[in-house]
Amino acid sequence: MRLLKEMKYSLHVAFHPFDGFWDLKYENKGKLRIALIILLAVTVTMILNRQYAGYVVNYNHPLELNSIDELKYIVLPFLLWCIANWSLTTLMDGEGKFKEIVIATGYAMLPLILVYLPNILLSNFITLRESSFYYLLESAAGLWFIWLLFIGTMTVHQYTVTKTIATMLLTVVVMGVIIFLGLLFFSLIQQIVSFAYTIYQELSLRA
């Protein structure tokens, strides 16, 4: 019952973001588990979308569909965003804690579920000529999500509008930097491993 109430509150956040995000932070109404449930639900929605969107708008190669890929496209960017945003805002006088950033980002993703699920159903009945409705709804969901993310970031960190926009853009840059460092790290590790292995081989062959 409590879970249901918390779920209902996430809807309130989606429709009344200013009010909702404020209470999320200061009235402790945001719950981490709800944020994670939404994240999971978004992943499932995207998998469903790829598999079951109507043929007219579904350009995915059936043989190349892979649900694990959705982790790459949704969960990984989500984590990257939270980490990047947290790293940046601690340096830029943001008031948000890491947990609050995760909650705000998670709640902001709710419109993707709200719009995509009915859209999948709709896409099975529309023709090529009506497909622009499908794309319209899809982009509306995206804009709604960005809008919520914007309000969420602003409220959680208590920023001004311009500072929020700047922070969000910088967060994207930092995400890129993190990916770059990660790849660099992996490739260096690979080099070290192969170096150690070569030395081992050399020694074992000489012995």
């Binding site: 043929y55 007219v56 190669h61 043989l63 009945f125 023709t127 090529l128 000529r129």
Partner: protein, 479 residues
């Protein structure tokens, strides 16, 4: 013991069968086609090599670097033996019926000098692009000289222009089109009297932002050493029954290596789907060096990269691929020209001085016939043949589309949707869906209406119920 022995015998028999499989029909190349997703998928072989001929075998002496041939409408094959400066005419039984080595030009003995292109009109007149003599020669059916057409004369042509005609075609109205070496303006067009009328079908300059960047930052001296931005030159051409000109370019960067030019020189080639007729979809692209237009809008292009022949229908759908580079019979070293007649394809190999004849297999004949019916709009007759094609090749997407379109016409919308989906034709799938949706709604209108009204009533009742409860609670609170 007996059981053991029988097992041993069985195993041995199984191994023997495994080691000596039934001999498959030997083919020097594999049949394949490209799926909607751009993946190469196996396909039955549409044409198999049936015969190879050389000059010696016919008894006219070896062909030296033959560069072109022409299959005339009467079934004769005109081979342009460039190295020996002669034309050899072969009949359907591969007998040499005529050999043209020279002709009387105004009372003087004249001949060809390294000619590269030949064309024969319906009336039997032979046009030869006499490359190193810088002229086009017209001969009549008996091989007698009619006229010669020299370099184009016009103010628009610079005085330093060197005219080397490589290929020549003549349309029904008698206009002469010449593909010349080093001409970037397009095809040179002459009217029926041999007067130059202009260039047509210019290839557009390919624009590359990277090149442009380097050009802006480099100095003048550097710039002069850079390759100039020039349009790609055509390398071959053919004309179809309606007078449209098909051209090819060997450029591997071009998105439109094949063009179909209308009389005013505009490309009107139909491309259905996202991949045009560009040959192999690999990193190393195909380079088309010749094109042959057979009936019903079907055209075949010859690729010099891998020695393959790509056959497309009028919508630009790939029908089948045959041929390959190699040393076996049915493969090529340096293929230069392609012609077709009925269900046979001829390919001329310049280095081997050899013509390879390909004959249609059962699959090839079925596809040709089905496509013919399909292109003239007899979808229902075509659908029967497409079914046959599918029996031989379940991957053949065109067949699914063909059957789907036929079902759509017959009003079998649901089934049509299934087939069109298999053939990946979203446009016609959408048409079938529209029809099916309407039909479904009409059939189930009563059900839907009842459901909708019931839902409406339920919602209204629920609201009233909620309101009365709220009011009741309010009254309780007041009380």
């Amino acid at each position: 013991m007996k059981i053991k022995l029988s097992i041993v015998i069985l195993t041995a028999a199984a191994m023997l069968i495994g080691i000596y499989p039934k001999p498959a029909l030997a083919s020097p190349y594999e049949g394949y086609t490209y799926s909607y997703w751009g993946e190469a998928v196996n396909s039955p072989i549409a044409y198999l090599p049936s015969k190879t001929v050389t000059g010696q075998e016919i008894g006219v002496g070896a062909w030296a670097a033959p560069s072109d041939m022409f299959a005339a409408s009467d079934g004769n094959l005109y081979v342009l033996d460039s190295g020996n400066a002669r034309i050899v005419v072969l009949n359907r039984e591969w007998k040499a019926v005529r050999e043209i080595k020279g002709f009387q030009n105004n009372g003087k003995e004249d001949g060809f000098n390294n000619p590269e292109g030949i064309f024969v009109t319906e009336a039997g007149h032979i046009y030869v692009a006499d490359t190193d003599n810088r002229r086009v020669v017209e001969l009549d059916g008996s091989g007698a000289f009619v006229r010669e057409i020299g370099a184009p004369q016009s103010e628009v042509i610079s005085s330093s222009f060197e005219y080397y005609p490589r290929k020549v075609i003549v349309d029904k109205a008698g206009r002469i089109y010449v593909v010349a070496r080093g001409v970037f303006e397009g095809i040179i067009e002459f009217d029926g009297d041999g007067r130059f009328t202009g260039f047509m079908g210019t290839n557009r300059v390919q624009f590359d932002p990277v090149d442009l960047f380097w050009k802006t930052v480099s100095t003048k001296e550097q710039r002069e050493k850079l390759i100039r931005f020039v349009p790609i030159e055509f390398n071959n051409a053919d004309v179809d029954a309606d007078g449209f000109i098909y051209t090819t370019t060997a450029d591997k960067q071009s998105d439109t290596p094949v063009k179909r030019l209308n009389p005013s020189g505009i490309d009107v080639l139909r491309v259905n789907g996202n991949i045009g007729p560009i040959g192999d979809l690999s990193r190393e692209r195909s380079a088309f060096i010749d094109i042959d237009v057979s009936g019903n809008g079907v055209y075949r292009t010859l690729d010099s990269t891998r020695g393959r022949i790509f056959t497309y229908n009028e919508d630009g759908n790939l029908l089948y691929v045959i041929g390959q580079m190699g040393n076996q019979r049915g493969t090529f070293k340096n293929p230069v020209a392609i012609e077709s007649f009925d269900n046979r394809i001829f390919v001329l190999d310049r280095d081997l001085g050899r013509i390879t004849e390909f004959a249609a297999t059962e699959f090839g004949k079925l596809v040709n016939e089905a496509n013919r019916l399909y292109s003239i709009g007899k979808h229902n007759d075509a659908a029967k043949l497409w079914e046959e094609v599918l029996r031989l090749d379940a991957n053949y997407e065109m067949a699914y589309i063909g059957i789907g379109k036929s079902l759509l016409r017959q009003g079998e919308y649901k089934q049509a949707m299934t087939y069109l989906k298999l053939g990946n034709d979203r446009e016609y799938y959408s048409k079938a869906l529209t029809k099916y949706r309407r039909e479904y709604m009409r059939d189930n209108f009563g059900l839907f209406m009842t459901g909708a009204i019931a839902l409406l009533l339920a919602v209204m009742a629920a609201r009233r119920f909620a309101r009365t409860r709220k009011e009741g609670m309010g009254q309780d609170a007041v009380a």
